[in-house]
Symmetry: C2
Subunit: 677 residues, 2 copies
């Protein structure tokens, strides 16, 4: 519980423990996770001088207890939502009772007690006011982070692929980092926002990393021990070619009996070291990673191979759906990367094992600031589907720009693939879960940009409760992280933080790629604008801007047909420029610069206006942040101030390059007469 020196407390500053630490608390129950709760209580008491409750609990103010276990393990079966009354809370749920004198957290299992404890922390003083009883349980059983951390520093991608928060928490220069106290501190933060699974290495599994599965499993086990203390199961990204790479077999064919036996033994070996191991994460036949296609087998064959090996031990395989041709010819407008995941996976519905989860990126492309929701999510009703989002801000400012992503993720989770009367994505992924690529690293602020901590926190909370309001999660995070009530001007701090964060995604969208067109970034590192950066590349990411117009025709009638991968009403909505929402217009249609948006503006004027507005909003946010200097810890304030300098420089660069590009190409002057270069 003791934090390593110089490490930012994020959303668990000691101050957040005041409510617990100043009261008489009793913890009843047994097992390692109950002990974790007990240690948390002891730590809080040490900070604030609270008293331990009596053994009989008669005078305690907070009682945390394991109830007699009446129900089955509710984890995987849990269909409940947040805030329901009574009923089975499941293995991870808990019931909160408050009579004004005593607050009682009752869980049927230790994990629930831990989450109940952190719920009390989150409520602060409110936890001790009288209120009707509530049962809380996670809507999604699987709330996972994937770390794209390399063990050996990759010559191009570095220690962490798409990492913007220093080195890896787990690995350094080819070895386990060995900073286990920090791993435990990380686990504590994750548990406090509801995350219960972590993949500890990059889905791109290179030579060195492949060995984590076999002769280096000890290093994974050491990390797993720390994560386990906070109820988090460890997952490992593995190479589909492992039987060849590690086992010396001549094939990795998923139907080969030798291969099957090899994986069975590999899985058994992992469980000998990590009894509660979560399972494998696999990127196969994707961007150069090996996969079942090499053997003429389907991705169901591939996933089931690993699922079968894990099944006896209770593990799950997460099979990523990010399969597309990354050696596309830009001259060929009939091939559409956006179509690829659906084309590959929709026909396989029903063929996957029960312990296989298809992990689907939230959009059809790759974590752009704006994409339509992937049609794959609703297309496999007989398959466990997880949605993958990206907390690490690869395309959203790389933690040098403020971009609070919960509103984006919330839009995805609320999207209804079958229209208003069908289930939303948040419901559809109950069986599979929600996964984020982690934005945390060895940086003392965890996430490089201190305000990017919000994304990690809000991800966990949304995974627990997909219909949570992003604005409320922001407020929740502000209260925990900045403890406004302990400052000289709580309301100024609250409103300032809200102002710089709440609409920051919209701001980022404004000054970058317009109207859903995506990918106007510098190739390779993906930071900063390059309007034509991917226009003539093999990566399948084009905008086709010419002097007359811009956008990709993905209609069924005249384009690539991607729009038809959606069910109605979306297939119809997206099919024509007239019905297509403005914010994804250029994703679905190639239109003239003079095309009139639903907003009443032309496309070209929208581009100019949003790019000027975006920069103005960054300037305003920077001023707001500066005005909070007296209310925020100096180190944190300084770090954010520095990042705002870079964000403003970057936003201006985006504005000027994008506007200049389109003025030069379209010849249409800005109606506002502003300076474009």
């Amino acid at each position: 519980m003791t934090r390593p020196i110089d490490l930012d407390p994020a959303w668990l500053p000691d101050e957040a423990l005041r409510g617990v630490g100043t009261r008489r608390v009793l913890v009843l129950g047994d097992g390692p996770l109950v002990d974790t709760v007990r240690h948390e209580v002891a730590y809080a008491r040490a900070q604030f001088g609270g008293e331990q409750g009596y053994d009989d609990g008669s005078s305690c103010e907070l009682l945390l207890r394991i109830a007699d276990s009446g129900g089955a393990d509710g984890g995987g079966e849990n269909r409940g939502g947040e805030g329901g009354e009574g009923g089975d809370a499941g293995r991870e749920g808990f019931t909160l009772e408050r009579d004004g004198t005593r607050t009682t957290v009752t869980a049927t299992a230790p994990a629930g007690l831990l989450y109940g404890f952190f719920h009390v922390v989150r409520l602060g003083a409110t936890a001790f006011l009288a209120a009707p009883p509530q049962t809380h349980r996670p809507a999604l059983a699987l709330r996972m982070l994937n770390h794209w951390d390399n063990v050996a520093v990759h010559p191009v991608m570095g220690q962490v692929e798409r990492g913007y928060a220093g080195g890896s928490l787990f690995w350094r220069d080819g070895r386990a980092r060995g900073d286990l106290p920090r791993v435990r501190a990380y686990a504590r933060l994750l548990a406090a926002c509801g995350i219960n699974a972590v993949g500890v290495n990059n889905v791109n599994v290179h030579e060195t990393e492949a060995h984590l599965l076999s002769d280096r499993i000890d290093e994974v086990a050491a990390i797993a021990a720390e994560l386990r203390a906070y109820g988090i199961r460890t997952h490992l990204s593995v190479s589909f070619a492992a039987p060849v790479l590690l086992g010396g077999l001549g094939t990795a064919d998923p139907l080969d009996s030798g291969v099957r036996a090899w994986w069975e033994e590999a899985a058994a070996n992992v469980y000998r070291h990590i009894p509660d191991f979560g399972g494998f994460v696999v990127k196969a036949d994707s961007e150069g990673q090996p996969g079942p296609f090499a053997y003429g087998r389907s991705h169901a064959d591939g996933a089931n191979l690993l699922a079968d090996a894990l099944a006896p031990h209770g593990g799950t395989v997460h099979w990523r759906a990010f399969v597309y041709d990354h050696r596309q010819d830009w001259r060929d407008r009939s091939t559409d990367r956006a179509r690829a995941a659906y084309d590959h996976f929709a026909p396989l519905d029903g063929e996957f094992r029960d312990n296989a989860v298809l992990q689907v990126k939230h959009g059809p492309m790759d974590f752009q600031v704006r994409e339509p929701v992937s049609p794959v999510i609703g297309a496999l009703p007989r398959t466990r589907v997880a949605v993958e989002v990206q907390a690490t801000q690869e395309y959203t400012g790389q933690q040098r720009h403020v971009c609070a992503l919960a509103p984006l993720w919330s839009e995805v989770l609320r999207f209804r693939p079958d229209g208003d009367h069908g289930p939303n994505v948040g419901s559809l992924v109950r069986g599979g879960g929600l996964v984020a690529v982690s934005n945390a690293g060895h940086d003392p602020f965890w996430t490089g940009h201190p305000l990017a901590q919000l994304n990690l926190y809000a991800f966990g909370r949304l995974a627990w409760q997909p219909d949570a309001d992003p604005d409320e999660l922001l407020d929740e995070w502000v209260e925990l992280t900045y403890t406004p009530d302990r400052t000289a001007d709580p309301e100024r701090l609250r409103s300032g933080l809200r102002a710089v964060l709440r609409d920051s995604w919209a701001t980022y969208e404004k000054y970058t790629a317009p109207l859903g067109v995506g990918f106007m970034v510098q190739p390779g590192h993906h930071y900063g604008p390059s309007v034509d950066g991917y226009e003539y590349s093999p990566w399948g990411t084009y905008h086709f801007a010419d002097r007359d117009g811009i956008g990709v025709d993905r209609s069924l009638a005249t384009g690539t047909g991607y729009a038809a991968q959606y069910a109605k009403p979306w297939s119809e909505t997206y099919e024509t420029p007239e019905t297509c929402p403005d914010d994804v217009l250029l994703f679905f249609h190639h239109v003239p610069y003079g095309h009139l948006l639903h907003s009443g503006k032309t496309v070209i004027q929208h581009i100019y206006d949003t790019h000027f507005e975006g920069v103005e909003e960054v300037e305003a946010a920077r001023r707001t942040w500066a005005s909070l200097a007296d209310l925020v810890a100096p180190a944190r304030h300084t770090r954010v101030t520095e990042r705002y300098e870079e964000q403003l420089r970057g936003a201006r660069e985006w504005r000027d390059q994008v506007n200049s590009y389109f003025l030069r190409k379209s010849g249409v002057p800005d109606a506002g007469g502003r300076r474009i270069h």
Copy 2:
């Protein structure tokens, strides 16, 4: 003399030594370089069974001798050209006498004898036919290669900055490579084409490389010993900040007495290890390298500091003129990188020491396939100026494309800065010399692409004789390297090699950046097209293409004024689109796509046509090369064949991206109705 196994013999195959090796040869004279000649003769004899001449020379067929020294060392003073009759041949010259029975090479110094020997090799059987006596001497005293080789592998630039021929000949992974036989074999090749100076490390001097000057001078000395055996002096790139970096001084101010004393001792120390050390090469105040500007001093102050330290030992400082703002704002069209070298250095004429050479890139930008000749070259009549060219093909196909550069260099050397009646560049650099960035590395073919050997060879020959005809140098190289007479079809081989090489520069120009506009390359590595790759960058390399036209206005009347840096008539010629030569039109002017070239074509049609033609020419060259399979050694033929595959792929990519870019932007259809994407 014995070649390391598996190393391509380049232009010194044993077969080229047949003329010497089958005859009776006598070598008269003393000293290490005479011994080198003697060893060469012995090696040739060992291959072909020729006899040693009698001591009195009465019956020998080839006599190589040092004459009684009558003249002074002619090196630095040499004003002679190739092929003159009689007179002083200088330290590096020689006289060739052929009476049909005996051929006699007479030199006043050992270096001349070595060059005379290789001249005889070059002549082959012709060397033994009767002819009038001829005296040969180098037009330029300094014929230098700069290796941009790093000692430690640079995280971005690698072992060799802009190297396309494997690792470095000199360094590997932070240490001297220690492959001294290969260094000697390299020196032999260089001597055979007339090169007499080599800079052994990158002009970008990083931390590790800085130490070559001080505690690692032994490693340089070991290389120098090998180069010395073939008459080549070793040069070292040094950091201007060395007194701070290595000496621990608080300043590197060139007028500081402590700094001056430090450099004097540093130079003295170098000469204790390398008595014939050539001098320093310095990139200062350029692309992040330190320089005198930091102390408010001029570049003359900086250069003279090092010149004074070297003077007592006979060394020379090569001070690079590549000084410009590489953090330019692309929005600011008044700043012009092309102007920078002239603006910085022209005012300093007359202020440099006699042993300081100002090393100027041949064009004002950076080794583009087409640039005007730098106005700096003619602007400093009281300064020793060297012209720097780039044998390594950074912007000309990176030794994956065939691009024979001697025609480009020859155009530069024949350019007359003051018009028809003034001296040409070849004459203007007599005091300074010619420098090439080497294209050689640890590749078994020396230069990656076997046909790129021609660039190294032709560079040396042009430095010796700047008015040499590039076509004749090509033929010379073909005879030496491919010994056509020893093949089944000499004329097919000769005409095939001529066909694929002679116009390859023009071909490369056709399919890449048009009309002198330059820099439409991928940022960073500079390989392959990216029309807007540098358009919004800080590097000062723009084309300003919009829907109406393209090009940079560098006129005095309406542009950056760069054209006025030239003397008449060029300042007038370049000032208007009407008088400006087509091939640099877009370098000097922004014109509409419909602008009519002197060729009679519009700019846009020229772009389309040349790009289609360029690819067709590569296709033809590839077929021609394929037809030579029976006449070329298999390993060499295979390597070139592989490179042609890549060249063709690359040329098509250039064609399609450039044409698509301009069609999309201009909207002007191709008059030929060809497919543009």
